[in-house]
Every structure is written in structure tokens, then in C-alpha cells.
Assembly symmetry: C2
């Protein structure tokens, strides 16, 4: 294999979920395809490294600082939704049901992986709360996993003394989910979180 | 999502087997990761478009023309193994059992997809045969698929009148394969291709 091809395969194989075989297939696809597609991809890669930084307010990835969401006057500045990652933010915002601001933690607490509170953007969250207008509610929207729950608990304990409402997204059966095929933990949480009709 | 990220996701999603979700995951992985990895990947992409061309003899992808295989004096120039693609060439050469030269067709005949003989590098193969020293044997190593078989038949018919040996790689049970779980077509071919012991 020619050296430039070998290098491209090696670089592609460093991506998560892409092994050497897939990398080889992708490389040959790119080489066979039109040059424009390859240079477009290369340019897109260079652009993200050049142009993307963290918003100094919400810590989301952005081209402009502060990001468009933090400067959007139609978004309620008194409610902040805390998420683990930019992709979680996108997942929530896609629905259009939340019209407040966000805060990206860039990870979850994980004692097993040695990730503590100082590795997340929690200090930046606390710093935002005293702004003007003051934040009224923080909704913690981390996943209902072990790490997500631990992170939610930690943030709740940190923020509660500050006298604002700290809430947690609901855990329960997904819409369209079948009770019959749901796991016991989800059913237990759905029961515990039942609402009066 | 910031524009540069959106563009990177779109470019990644154009790759075969990579949907929008995987593209988003890859993009965020790249942005989160170290900048060096991203620029290395971009550079590797630009390098293949800049430096890779087809060898004017064997049609394999190469940085130098003629390619290292065509100029390797230890490789028998009288035997040519015909393959559909550069990745098939790599698959065969990895084994080290073939020490002749190669010829890459860059595709297979496929009437359904409108791919005819002129779309493959068959004329270039015919042109090579009268060289010095003359080619003694052409081994057709296309896959035993419908298109692969059709391509092999076509090339055999084209080359036979030129008075050289045209052979075809064997079809049969794979090494370690279980007769019990083999498909009928493979078993039929293994029987038809039986060799006297």
C-alpha cells in the first residue's frame, strides 16, 4: 500500500468504532471518489479546529463567543438546563420543548474513571447563577445512568443552599414503550415517579 | 449546532456506512480530542488527493509511477494476477503466496449497473501482455460472485486467442469451513472443482 494511503488508513482507524478494515474501506472509497469530497472533508476538519471554541457562558461549542443561544433574547435566562455534552444539548433542543438556556458539563462524575467535580464545568455553572437576572431554576438533564445520577445528586447538593429550584428530568417508560418489555429498574422508577391525575 | 461542526457532520455522513448519528458522534469526538489528531487526519486526506495516482502499468494506486510492485525485480513478470480493486490486491498480497505482478480492473462487469468492458482497465491489461518478457499466465482473481464470474469469463474469452494460459482462482469450502453450514452453491462448486489425490 502506498504510504499516503497507509497514513490515511491509520488516521481513520484512530476514530472510535472504526477498525482497520473499515478504515481501509473508507480510505479507498475516498480515493476512488471525487477529489472535491476529500478536500471538503479535510477543510471541514481544519475549520473545526480553527473556529470552534467553548462559549464562555454555557460552555457549549461555538464559533462566536458568547454563543447564539446565550445571546438569544427569546430564550428565558432564568432557567438553565444542565447537560453532559454538546450532543445531549442538541438532542434536547431538537424537540423545541425547552426554551431556556443551557450549561454543558463536558462529562459526568465517574469515580471509577477518576473524573471528579473539578474535571467538569461545575464551577462555571455556579458562577453563572448570581447573574442578572438571577437564575430561578436549574434542570439537571444528565442521563439516568449511574454516573448521570451521581452527577445530578452532586450538583443538586451544591446548588440547593443557593436558594434556587433544582429539578431533575423524569425517568420512566419511554413514549410508545411496552410495559411488557421494559426492564425492572425503569418500571420501578416509573412507579416511584407516578403523578396524580 | 455551530456551522463548522454542522459542515463536518455533513461531510462525515457522506462516507459509506456512516449515518448522521455516527457522523455526529465522530465529529464531537474529533472536536473534544486533541487538535493534532484532527489536523493529521486532514493532512492525510489532502495527501492522498495530491500524491496518489494510478500506476501506468498495473493500474494500482501508487505514489511513484511505475509502482514499487511493477519495478520489483524479484516479482515474476510473466505471471499477472487480475483483481477487481486495490483492496483485493492487498488481501491477496498479504498472504505472500503470489509472487508475480498484478493488474487492477477498478470494478467488475455489471450489466445491471451499466458497467461494461470499457469502464474497466481491460484494454490496459491486453496492452501489457505483449511486453518483454511476454506474459505466460494470467490468473483471474475476481470474487466468485455473479459479476466476478462474468468478468472472469469475459477476460478469459478476450485473452485466450492470444495464446497464453488464463486461469481462475478456485471456488470451494473455505479453510476451517464446516460442510454442515456451507451453502449449496459452494458445495456444488467444491464438488465440481475436486482434485485427484
Amino acid at each position: 500500500m502506498a504510504d499516503p494511503i497507509r497514513r490515511l488508513v491509520a488516521e481513520l482507524a484512530r476514530l472510535p468504532g472504526i477498525g482497520e478494515k473499515t478504515a481501509t474501506r473508507l480510505a479507498f472509497h475516498l480515493i476512488r471518489g471525487n477529489r472535491q469530497q476529500v478536500t471538503d472533508l479535510a477543510q471541514a476538519l481544519l475549520d473545526v479546529t480553527d473556529k470552534i471554541r467553548l462559549c464562555s457562558i454555557c460552555m457549549n461549542m461555538t464559533e462566536a463567543d458568547p454563543c447564539p443561544m446565550c445571546t438569544d433574547g427569546r430564550r428565558d435566562p432564568e432557567t438553565i438546563c444542565v447537560v453532559a455534552s454538546p450532543s445531549d444539548l442538541i438532542a434536547i433542543d431538537r424537540g423545541g420543548h425547552f426554551r431556556g438556556r443551557y450549561h454543558v458539563l463536558h462529562g459526568l462524575l465517574s469515580p471509577l474513571e477518576g473524573i471528579g467535580p473539578d474535571d467538569l464545568r461545575i464551577a462555571e455553572l455556579v458562577r453563572r447563577l448570581g447573574g442578572d437576572p438571577p437564575v430561578r431554576e436549574v434542570i439537571i438533564a444528565t442521563s439516568p445512568s449511574v454516573d448521570g445520577e451521581a452527577t445530578a445528586m452532586y450538583i443538586a447538593r451544591t446548588l440547593k443552599p443557593l436558594g434556587l429550584t433544582v429539578s431533575r428530568i423524569a425517568t420512566g417508560l419511554p413514549v410508545g414503550g411496552e410495559l411488557e418489555y421494559s426492564d425492572q429498574a425503569t418500571i420501578a422508577r416509573a412507579l416511584a415517579g407516578r403523578a396524580t391525575l
